[in-house]
């Protein structure tokens, strides 16, 4: 079995490069871009870890994965042990290893990041999780006395799944209610196949099912059942609300109701969830992107996913962002991948009007150039329009990816759940309790659009909060 090299040797090892599909080929398919480290690469990269006394990497991880322990197990070639170690803190490592922004989290805090390059913590997380999956290993059915209490989880995104997993391990009976016909939330309808294969989400969900979690699709809480009905009539002692972000924002510029204008949510849902890229084998269409000019407005992960999806459907795809590239909230990796694949970037530009023909079909847009002014509340420099810089450009399909508000269904039907002025649910940050006794909330519905790992963390925290409440009964 391998051991760590002397520290000096370790820093000489190069950070391992993850193999990926050739950009020119992948620009035309929906298969995963990243191919994963090989076993040899994984061991080499884990070797680079200095096993710090004060492992700062862990401070960067929202769920405090025991990074040094799992890296040590990788060096010892105990990959299954490494996967188990991660799962003590993160139930969905194959997913997080793919979509977490490690470059601003654990890897940003790795001591090596200053003088060398950080350990590839994310890629190693992915490697051991995939290894475990490839061996067909699934989590064990918890051997714990059942508590005889039912908990309802509303929404099957990462927050809901992690909460369900923890609660089942604690001995509760858990039912997850999902509005859509598939489980996984944004992981299945938002994040595209080429970044996160749906098969992986399906396996994780099945894993939870095998552990005893019950899943009910096609149930909209607030419509099919209210939260009160779940608690008073259906026998649930507690409810965890993890319904994610909702209602996509539009820009409130003229022409946004033209045919040919999508929200990123709709565009991605049509392609990912409804498989429009396989039309007419699948029934749902998406407007033909082949050779069409597709403009995506926004600079976050969602915008990158939308533009790269359009590209794969054959579009001449361009990102329009009102600030400069440095301010883009998307992950660096996504930006680079998009550029390599051939996406064009129009920075410091924003549309001010969408124009259509007599049938209200989008055909062009009026844009204006921007420059950066003083920093705003978010600390980023505020984009200011440059006078007389308007111009008109032809465009066939426009996709608005500027974020989401919150879904009103829960708050409309449970007015006793406190929300802030944006409609996000207010919770106690420790216990995840809402203002309504027995009801907890977490994930994007609390924070607004955030990240998978934060949603997972919130789910775990809520599971602890629920356990505490159901154990001592006081609110």
């Amino acid at each position: 079995m391998a051991e760590f090299l002397p520290p000096k040797e370790r820093t000489k090892l190069p950070r391992q490069v993850m193999p990926e599909q050739d950009p020119l080929i992948r620009a035309h398919n929906f298969e995963e871009v990243n191919l994963g480290l090989t076993k040899e690469q994984a061991i080499l990269d884990a070797q680079r870890c200095l096993q710090c006394k004060k492992p700062t990497c862990m401070d960067g991880c929202p769920v405090e994965i025991k990074i040094i322990d799992f890296l040590e197990l990788v060096v010892e070639e105990d990959f299954l042990g490494a996967a188990r170690k991660i799962k003590e803190d993160n139930v969905l490592p194959a997913i997080c290893g793919r979509v977490c922004p490690q470059e601003t989290q654990c890897e940003a805090k790795c001591v090596l990041a200053k003088r060398f390059e950080p350990v590839s913590i994310g890629r190693l997380e992915r490697f051991v999780a995939d290894y475990e999956m490839s061996k067909g290993i699934t989590s064990e059915i918890p051997r714990i006395d059942k508590k005889g209490k039912k908990v309802a989880v509303v929404g099957s995104g990462p927050a809901g799944l992690s909460c369900a997993g923890d609660l089942i391990n604690m001995g509760y009976d858990v039912t997850v209610f999902e509005a859509l016909h598939e489980l996984g939330g944004v992981l299945v309808y938002g994040i595209p196949e080429f970044r996160l294969p749906k098969e992986i989400v399906r396996k994780e969900v099945n894993n939870l099912r095998n552990m005893g979690v019950e899943f009910k699709t096609n149930v909209v809480i607030g419509a099919t059942y209210s939260i009160d009905e779940l608690m008073k009539e259906e026998g649930y002692s507690a409810v965890f609300v993890a319904v994610g972000a909702g209602l996509p924002w539009f820009m409130n510029i003229p022409g946004e109701s033209l045919a040919g204008v999508y929200s990123a949510n709709e565009f991605l849902t049509r392609v990912n969830l409804m498989k429009a890229y396989k039309f007419p084998e699948y029934d749902s269409p998406v407007l033909d992107c082949k050779e069409r000019r597709v403009a995506v407005f926004g600079g976050g992960n969602v915008a990158m996913d939308a533009v790269r999806t359009a590209l794969r459907l054959g579009a001449k795809a361009t990102i329009y962002y009102r600030r400069s590239e440095a301010e883009m909230p998307a992950r660096d990796e996504e930006i680079h991948h998009a550029k390599d694949e051939g996406v064009k970037f129009e920075m410091l530009t924003t549309p001010i009007e969408l124009l259509g023909d007599e049938n209200e079909r989008l055909h062009s847009m009026k844009c204006i150039r921007m420059e950066l002014g003083e920093p705003d509340a978010s600390g980023r420099r505020r984009p200011v329009p440059i006078e007389n810089s308007e111009y008109i450009e032809p465009v066939d399909i426009a996709i608005v990816a500027i974020g989401n508000g919150s879904n009103p269904l829960i708050s409309q039907t449970s007015p006793d759940i406190d929300t802030n002025k944006w409609g996000n649910i207010n919770v106690d940050g420790d216990t995840m309790r809402t203002s309504k006794p027995g009801v907890f909330a977490g994930g994007d519905i609390v924070t607004g659009g955030a990240t998978v790992i934060l949603a997972l963390g919130a789910g775990r925290q809520a599971a602890r909060g629920i356990d505490e409440y159901l154990t001592d009964g006081s609110w």
Binding site: A179, V220, A223, T224, P285
Partner: protein, 289 residues
Amino acid sequence: MFEIVEARFLAQDIKLFKIYSPPIARKRKAGQFVIIRVTETGERIPLTIADSDPGQGTVTIIVQGIGKTTKELNTKAAGDTITDIVGPLGKPSHIEKFGTTVSIGGGVGTAIAYPTAVALKKAGNHVITINGARTKDMVILEDEMKAVSDEAFITTDDGSYGIHGFVTNKLQQLIDEGRQIDFVLAIGPIPMMQAVAEVTRPHGIYTVVSLNPIMVDGTGMCGGCRVQVDNKVQFACVDGPEFDAHKVNFRNLVNRNRVYHEYELKSLESYEHRCKLNKQADALKATSV
């Protein structure tokens, strides 16, 4: 999988289904809809709930076979299943005692106007119903409508049954006769709803229409269902589907609904082609036995 408990044609290409889904049957109110998916590879389409039987646990929908999905659904019989049904979605109709109300249904829209007519009657209104069809064979729910109406009228475009003309002709006549009308609900093809809105507008009669934009999720997540009402963007699936007819931008709705027209034709064509191949294969099998 959801079981079809009952299925029968009401008119040519118009079929009634009762689908087993106790929670929806128990919860639904007039004006709400469900989203269904017929098969694993199917699209999600909204269908207004025509009726429900909480005791039996069934939800009634009435479907006109026009595109691929509705035609495929109409091949289903009692005992068959559909992949998904979710609901009840949308806001229920606003029901109160208005006085005299007119419920107008055009074509299969009659099925949607029916539950609201029932609710309006229950609320103590004098209920007038006007149901339009192209021709006599396409008239549906005649007896049901009669049963809930104080006055029930049927119009046919070709004059083969009832009053010769459009629903708006009858409505105009009632207004011209000086009848006091306090509320109009119109459901049917967009041109019909728009025509009703224009008839009532000069008289300031409060008029509501049930809009049918293209939807995907039906829960407010995608914004595909957005419509312009009073020059503001509304999501029909969570803010509607019923809106003030005098404030709806019908032209935008028509244009947005048309955007996938050629795709729908292609989808139908490819479906019918597959059906034909299957039939041929079945025939081959039968002869080779």
